[in-house]
């Protein structure tokens, strides 16, 4: 069934969009990630203009993360103080990101910039994940003593705040910076940023794993909502028809994927996810390196 996307101004097969939503939702349920980093590139490859793919991707992430956040909230797994600091940083980061995006759009550099961001961020992340999980799989027999809390330069920063739920007494500067970075990426890449937020919360901030998922989902929901509003307001690039079709497939897919994910072991999951992240980065890098079929392109405005 062909459907006209009013903001993307193009006609696509509705079932194809629901299918993409389902596939990405399934993978995200399987690996326990938001899936925005798979969704936005898929839309761009489908021919959706990059600004619309990014903004609608962020809008989709909002919908896909809502139910997870509510579930975590019910179980009391959200550190509201930490969440508030992260969101404050996230709002600043995403506001900067939207301005940067508007400038890139006027210079005709959005497509290349979005691809480049994906290549750099996903390339680095995928490499780290693959290396780390491969090491973990090889060393499975040896048990290492984990220290509860390591002290380094970060703990000398001022403006300390007590985060009761996370059992931390640290400066607000690192969580603010983490939130801002993730907000910036969210507005330029159309992702929730959970894939960066979770490792940063565990390794950099030293939060206990129990509250990490709930708190990161809280930040993702708030920042994705902010990016949606700012993109709709300043760029006019949110396509609600696109978002809703993707959500229809995505939410169903996530439930099936999550069911299957429980059968995979941690290291294998991280290895597979890392490989997936690397292949998306590779595909987009190829798009930048490959000599374009036509040197000229046309855009409205």
């Amino acid at each position: 069934m062909q459907v006209y996307l009013p903001i993307a101004e193009m006609t696509v097969d509705a079932f194809l969009l629901v299918g993409i939503g389902f596939a990405v939702g399934w993978l995200s349920g399987l690996f326990g990630v938001g899936g925005g980093f798979l969704l936005t590139p898929s839309l761009i490859l489908l021919g959706v203009p990059a600004p619309v793919a990014v903004a609608s991707g962020a809008n989709q992430v909002l919908g896909a993360s809502t139910s997870g956040m509510i579930a975590q909230w019910r179980r009391g797994n959200v550190d509201w103080t930490m969440g508030g600091v992260l969101v404050a940083g996230g709002l600043v980061g995403s506001a900067i990101g939207i301005q940067l995006f508007a400038w890139l759009k006027s210079a005709g550099l959005v497509d290349a910039a979005v691809s480049l961001f994906y290549v750099v961020v996903l390339g680095a992340l995928g490499t780290l994940m693959v290396l780390e999980s491969a090491r973990a799989i090889l060393r499975r027999s040896k048990k290492r003593q984990a220290r509860l809390h390591e002290h380094f330069w970060m703990h000398g920063l001022p403006f300390k705040l007590r985060f009761r739920k996370s059992r931390l007494f640290i400066s607000v500067i690192p969580p603010l910076l983490v939130g801002a970075t993730v907000g910036l990426l969210s507005s330029i890449m159309g992702v929730g940023g959970g894939f960066m937020l979770v490792p940063a919360m565990i390794y950099l901030l030293g939060m206990p794993t129990g509250v990490v998922i709930g708190t990161s989902l809280f930040q993702v929901v708030c920042v994705a909502a902010a990016v949606t509003v700012m993109a709709a307001w300043q760029l006019g690039t949110v396509d609600i028809v696109l978002t809703l079709l993707l959500l229809l497939g995505g939410v169903a897919g996530a439930q099936f994927g999550a069911q299957m994910g429980t059968r995979l072991r941690g290291e294998e999951t991280r290895f597979l996810l890392g490989a997936l992240v690397l292949s998306v980065a590779g595909l987009l890098l190829w798009g930048l390196i490959d000599t374009p079929a036509r040197l000229f392109n046309l855009s409205a405005g």
Binding site: Y4, T11, N59, V238, T243, L247, V251, L288, P292
Partner: protein
């Protein structure tokens, strides 16, 4: 098609009194959420015989003028980025020319330029890059999208005095006011001329969405947030697997 044409021709007033009478099959094209392209038929009759040995008919249709930018990709550190740009302030978003014969065989260049008959006769003045490759690329991309058409199908002649042509409208045509100019050409000059118009309108949900997103973008953003949250929540309730 034939019977439809016959039916439409019945609606023409006093055929053969005027040198040229032309009409459109519709004055309104609706862009709905399920629009996958359509067409407009231009038909009419002439007082004098048309076709080989007689007069000829040229039809030119154009859509709203919109700004477009053509960019050329350049290689930086092995990666391809958009480089130099040529911005055209007013480019017809849709343009089609058709005739019983190609326009360049019927009219001298000065007249073709005056009436903008032919893709090479469109007045396109860029700011920025001025190389002819940019204009060529603009024409090529528009043609490939089916938004610019030059003699893709000839104007059919029936019975020496009746003519018709079907102008295909691709799915990507923008909303706005479209004009259709019908010219009767005799011995390399324009003998008669008729100006017609139709409107391409967004209708239904797609129109409402586009209007709200442009007119009240902040409200639209908030609606998108609420709808996404509702859809996500509803979906997780419906598809719960445990």
């Amino acid at each position: 098609m034939r019977w439809l044409l016959a039916l439409l021709l019945l609606s023409l007033p006093a055929v053969a009194e005027e040198p040229l009478v032309a009409r459109l099959s519709t004055d309104r094209v609706e862009l709905s959420t399920t629009f996958t392209g359509g067409s407009v038929m231009v038909f009419g009759s002439t007082a004098q015989p048309i076709g080989p040995g007689g007069a000829e008919v040229i039809i030119m249709a154009r859509g709203p003028d919109l700004p477009f930018t053509v960019r050329r990709k350049v290689q930086v550190l092995g990666l391809w980025f958009n480089g130099p740009a040529a911005r055209y302030g007013a480019v017809p978003a849709f343009y089609a020319v058709a005739g019983t014969l190609p326009a360049w065989r019927l009219l001298p260049e000065a007249l073709r330029r005056q009436y903008a008959l032919g893709l090479d006769m469109l007045r396109l003045t860029p700011t920025g890059a001025r190389e002819p490759e940019f204009r060529a690329a603009l024409v090529e991309i528009k043609q490939e999208a089916g938004l610019w058409q030059e003699d893709i199908a000839p104007v059919d002649i029936v019975g020496g005095r009746l003519f018709h042509v079907n102008l295909p409208l691709p799915a990507t045509i923008p909303a706005g006011d479209y004009t259709v100019e019908v010219l009767l050409v005799d011995s390399r000059r324009v003998a008669a001329r008729e100006l017609l118009a139709f409107r391409v309108e967004r209708v239904g949900t797609a129109a409402t969405i586009a209007d709200v997103s442009r007119g009240q973008p902040l409200l639209y953003g908030v609606i998108c947030v609420v709808l996404a949250i509702l859809a996500g929540w509803l979906g997780s309730v419906l598809f719960r697997r445990n």
